[in-house]
């Protein structure tokens, strides 16, 4: 976010990817480097734990930022903002994954930082639906322990070798995995979103350009 144009290459981040590739071989599936900004690496599911080890030991990424997961299924409920009278448009169910790609609905991703190098990296791994689990990071980064517990209850993803995979936020007898996209946001289903009652419908694609023109005109004033 500076005035200088973004550099073409980024040695520090390229090096991260290189070292990961040399340590893990073709188990580094995909990578994306945005020079001067960020780096994403996707590894094979079975290399997840080793990735953590390489990051910590070989790359000195000692600082643990977070570990989380994502459900790439588009929500079957949309934004849950439709009034009951509206005809709900058909929602897409295509799974489109983000940076560094992916083949499965669920992915785990984690971010660690190398304090001396001042560089962070986001690593991802696919989690196949038929065996919804990856190896734990809690022995590598102690902080991962609680993050994995959170992901376990929120997504139902297991972490093999985790010492104590109990609920952390939800009550012990809670059923379901709230952050999955197919878990309905019940508050919106019990009572329709109040914001939808009085407001005009959002302009569709065609009006967008016009709205932008308005904003520009306002800026000129």
């Amino acid at each position: 976010m500076s005035d200088a144009p973004a550099p073409e290459t980024d040695e520090r981040r390229d090096r991260l990817v290189e070292v990961l590739r040399s340590e893990l071989g073709d188990r580094v599936v995909d990578s994306l480097v945005k020079p001067g900004d960020d780096v994403w690496v996707r590894v094979a599911t079975d290399a997840w734990q080793e990735t953590g080890r390489v990051l910590r030991d070989a790359l000195r990424c000692n600082f643990f930022d977070f570990l989380s997961a994502i459900d790439w299924l588009p929500s079957p409920f949309g934004k849950s903002e439709d009034s009951p009278l509206d005809q709900r448009p058909a929602l897409s169910t295509d799974i489109v994954t983000g940076y560094a790609g992916g083949e499965t609905r669920f992915q785990v991703f984690a971010r660690v930082t190398s304090l001396p190098e001042r560089v962070s990296i986001t690593v991802k791994a696919d989690v196949p639906l038929e065996d919804l689990a990856v190896d734990t990071w809690s022995a590598i980064y102690s902080g991962a322990n609680w993050h994995e517990r959170e992901i376990h209850e929120m997504y139902g993803i297991g972490f093999r070798g985790h010492p104590y995979l109990a609920h952390i936020y939800l009550p012990g007898d809670f059923e379901g995995h709230p952050l999955r996209k197919d878990f309905p946001l019940l508050a919106r289903h019990v009572k329709p979103w109040p914001g939808i009652v009085d407001v005009e419908p959002m302009p569709d694609e065609g009006d967008d350009a016009e709205a932008e023109g308005d904003a520009a005109a306002e800026g000129a004033e």
Binding site: I70, R111, P178, E212, G219
Partner: protein, 391 residues
């Protein structure tokens, strides 16, 4: 006795206590279980600590949380980008403006929008005011946990002036909801800068007062020196951030080390660290942090650039497809948002990385073997806000 069976017993005690059947102490075969909270004053809200004791020593101590879990990550998926602001204000409620900034920055990064310089400076000033409002309360509150009532009153008294300044700009004392994608809602009101500088001078006096009253106090030192030592590598492995990390001797401050476009690099200030890693050093580092924050505000008020406070953004905000992570050094530590956009009006997924969640995950490690009163000192000095843990 294996670790697992230990935990299973603890889980049983947790379930019992949750049902209200166990209130304070519970005899088990190899010791006593002490339940603190969920309404314990040392827990800043509704955190529960279940400690297994052997005499006066803690064998195992497990925080139980979720009493305030509001499911923000799920809720944000049905919000539009401008609506997100209102919710995330409530994460760390003592420094709420600081919660908005990383999310707005992440959205701007995805949109390729950059706020004009004046907006960035005002953001930085409000950010630091949020820090002062947050940490000055910590300075008083921690002393309160050690039995010193006066500092808490001083803290509330002087914090009020900072809140007044935040209110004068944003209209909100606790939840400003002031940051916008592309800039800010409004500019400073007339005469605000002079008032703020007077308040900053007052806050520096407050820091001196606290230094005399608390830091130099023998009882306070006895309760905190050498208590709850966290080495730097453990702190990093648990993802401790902010003053907790710097108090363990790790020289890391996102404001200095990972520039995000705000105006911290425009002024002269110091990142303080402490080699000890104990409760005392965490308190001391935070005290210095308030001092530095007042300096930052002073300097930024002096050099505030003129110009617009809003970049040109479309009226209906659609964020292009992509993923972005922005973290800032919030009063409690590193707070970041991992925003995944699918090109809609609202985010597809937002991972909120809050500082307190990682900061208190070290509690089971650090409280092993300490005495019961030290648990209070460690909890207080680690400093967490419940909203920041439970999201």
């Amino acid at each position: 006795m294996t670790a697992i069976s230990d935990r299973q017993k603890l889980a049983y005690v947790n379930a019992q206590a949750a049902d209200g059947r166990v209130n304070l102490e519970f005899e088990t075969e190899e010791g006593m279980t002490l339940n603190m909270g969920p309404q314990h004053p040392a827990t800043h809200g509704t955190l529960r600590i279940v400690a297994k004791l052997d005499g006066e020593q803690v064998i195992h101590c497990e925080p139980v949380m979720g009493y305030m879990h509001r499911g923000y990550e799920k809720l944000l998926e049905v919000r539009t980008y401008p609506q997100v602001n209102t919710l995330v204000n409530r994460i760390d409620w003592l420094g709420s403006f600081t919660n908005e900034v990383p999310f707005i920055l992440a959205s701007e990064k995805l949109m390729g929008v950059e706020a004009p310089p004046r907006a960035q400076w005002i953001r930085t000033i409000l950010f630091e005011l949020g820090r002062i409002a947050n940490i000055s309360l910590f300075l008083g509150d921690t002393a309160l946990h050690m039995g010193g009532m006066t500092a808490a009153f001083y803290a509330f008294r002087d914090r009020e002036f900072v809140l007044n300044q935040i209110e004068a700009v944003t209209g909100g004392r606790f939840h400003p909801n002031f940051d916008r994608i592309g800039g800010l809602k409004d500019d400073f009101p007339k005469g605000w800068i002079a008032d703020t500088k007077a308040v900053m001078a007052r806050l520096r006096d407050f820091c001196d007062e606290i230094e005399d009253l608390v830091v130099g106090n023998e009882i306070f030192q006895a309760r905190t020196r050498g208590i709850g030592i966290i080495p730097g590598d453990i702190a990093q492995s648990y993802g401790l951030s902010g003053a907790n990390l710097r108090a363990s001797g790790v020289d890391w401050d996102l404001r200095r080390d990972v520039p995000v476009g705000l105006a911290w690099d425009q002024c002269d200030w110091t990142v303080w660290t402490h080699p000890d890693g104990d409760s005392f050093s965490r308190y001391w580092v935070r005290l210095q942090e308030v001092r530095e924050a007042t300096k930052i505000v002073d300097q930024l008020c002096d050099g505030l650039p003129s110009g617009p406070i809003m970049a040109k953004v479309p009226r209906i905000i659609k964020v292009p497809e992509g993923e972005a992570w922005v973290a800032t050094e919030n009063p409690l530590g590193e707070m970041g948002y991992y925003v995944v956009s699918k090109g809609d009006l609202g985010p597809f997924r937002v991972k909120i990385r809050t500082a307190s969640f990682n900061n208190i995950s070290v509690i089971p490690w650090v409280t092993r073997g300490v005495y019961v009163p030290d648990v209070i000192s460690i909890l207080a000095s680690l400093y967490f806000i419940l909203g920041d843990i439970d999201r």
